[in-house]
Amino acid sequence: MAKNSGISPVAQMRVTKRHLWSSDRFQRIAFILPTSIFLLCLTLFPFIYSVYLSLHFVKMTNLSKKIYAGLENYIDLFNDSLFTTGIKNTASLAVTTLTVEVLLGFLIARILFELSSKRGINFLRSAYLVPIMITPIVVGVAANYIFTPQLGIANYLLGSVGIEPIGFLGIAIPARLTVLAINVWQWTPFMALLILAGLTSIRQDIVEAAKVDGAKWYHIMFWIEIPSILPIILLGMTLRLIEILRFFDIIYITTRGGPGDNTMVMTLYTYQQGFRYFHVGLSSASAVVILFVSITVTTVAVNLLRRAENNA
């Protein structure tokens, strides 16, 4: 071939090299490589190592002593009522939180949308976002003070309207509701912000046309607004769902999973096994289960989102 083309072998090698350097394939590899190394080191390797640890009996205080356990950690996990309660509580928290946040978020977004031409509304919108910016640990500590039965402001306010004090964090239902309320307080602004963006993007001429045709406010809401912003609501729900599956900080600070197991969640269980009792094998098994639950739930949510986008 070199003979035919009349190019010397050395020159041909240079051409081939140049071709390689300039080829699309190499460029693609060059662009992907840093991210791949990053993912490999910080995501894939820890995941594979977690799976490996989950198949062993091992304590963090003695990592060199690993005893192969097969699936025993997983069996222990699902035989431990604390973990199964954690799954149930996480699911229940996800359903209630998302429902309240979407309803409340829609209501608030609607109000902000209606007031969009009023003076000072921009300040109100920004102020409303403050809860999202606060570190969850700080929210938890503040909530602890607010809901402390003896000295907290919550019982003081209830007392001022003649209501008997409540043990917010010590009794099952109040504790669940308190955790829900803290979560909703912090994250409803996020949902409201997304919905507000969706409402702003709806073409007003369609709304005006519907009004001319005699549509009432609820017709507009159910037939124009909600279908238009459904992909945005689903996106918000997906993001929040991922957040709720790893919900930990506030429960760790306020209830520590109690009273009883009423606010025990999967992440708290994983933390306790790993960093309080140092059972790395069991903790890794729990983390792997959480990961698979998260992937499954997120995949379903993303599929729903795509379908909604296609329909919209």
């Binding site: 009996f57 963090m60 205080t61 003695n62 604390l82 402390t148 039965p149 003896q150 000295l151 019982n155 008997e164 004090p165 409540i166 043990g167 917010f168 964090l169 010590g170 009794i171 099952a172 504790a175 209830t255 520590r256 999973g257 109690g258 009273p259 009883g260 197991d261 306790q272 960093f275 309080r276 009792y277 140092f278």
Partner: protein, 446 residues
Amino acid sequence: MQRILKITTILGVAAFSASMLNAQEVDWSKELGDHAGVTLNVPMITDPFIEPLTEISGRFEQVAGAKVNVDPFGYGALHDTELLKCSQKSSDMDVMGIDAIWIGEFIEAGCLDNLEDRIAADDDVVKWDDFTPGFSAQAIWEGSRYCVPIGAYYQLLFYRNDLFEAAGKKPPTTFDELKELAAFFTDNPDFPGVKGFVTNNARGVAAGQEFYQWLPSAGGKAWASNEFGVTPSETYSDLTPTFDAAAVDLIKYLKSMMAYGPTGVEAFDWDQRGAAFASGNIAMTNMWSVRANLSNIPETSNVVGKFSTTQFPHAEGAQSRPPAGGWILCVNKHSKNKDAAWDYIKWITSQEIHAEYAIAGGPPSRISTFSNPEVRENWPWTDDLFKSSQAAFAEVRPRHAATSQMIDVVGIEVNKALIGEQSAEEAVEAINSKHTKLLRRSGLLK
């Protein structure tokens, strides 16, 4: 009267012994090495003695050249941080302040330097026999002294002497008397706003430790060889869980006592019951002795001069076994400054410095401290403390490698029973079964 005479005699003998022991003051320039340029890191609990400890530790630089950095942590964070760091062979910490019940877990993780030889070599300064035996036993593991006591606590019953005087009542000695008095003071129109009694009920370690502490005085025991007065090796010879009828009765008793507590008593822990008592709305509570200091600070307490202490109560037919607990100082096995670390421990726990520390509010951990006139003047409950230290049960909670998780298990199951999610019998059955599984997995039970 006889009791007072007995205590006075014991304290007199202790004072005499202490004065003999103190006859020769320690020449620190000879006892301590020159550690100039060294900084010792000492993680420690943020309990009420942290301020005097930090303040006095600052003086170590003058006598030995090493700076001491006392790093305060909350209870759970201290355990997790110390254990995680030292098990990874970190030399970040030099001296570790640990709860005495963690000793087995920390030794198993390879965290603690065995101090037996150092203590034996320096016993003229350390004066080990002067430490209260009820607590110093907790610094020993499998026959070796690994740590040195710095903060001995004993559980006392705190009561409002002003309310008791007004009502013409005597402090309780038994569980039944405690309950009667709690009922008497709760919502009593003569004492408006007052509730009778409060203790730890919060899920997890708070309720767990509390239950262990009450159990011996209720006539029960947590494991087969958990007998009062036996040697430590005998104590850990048979760890088969033995929560039985006494444990069931105790859960029922503690549940019934919640009726005499303030709102939210189901979630009370050490801080909350201490704050509730200091607020002046509680007639009685049991607390670690170290908390007495907090109730006596005018800026934060409404009960200064209005409370007294007495011995931990007991069930009918059982004896009061005041729980002993508290903090010990140990040398991190991976420290690069072990000599300086040992010198610091030797100095801060010595009779001379310990007396200053106790006067400033540190928990008296030496017998000689109880007879110190300034300590007695500053802390009026010193006699009760001394009496408790004499009857204290060092092994009221286990100290082996599975302790933390076992205490949590008790705290979860007892809390469930207290809030009505399961019966006392179910709680005890769950504790025995979960403890057995844990002990087997840890290799502590066959």
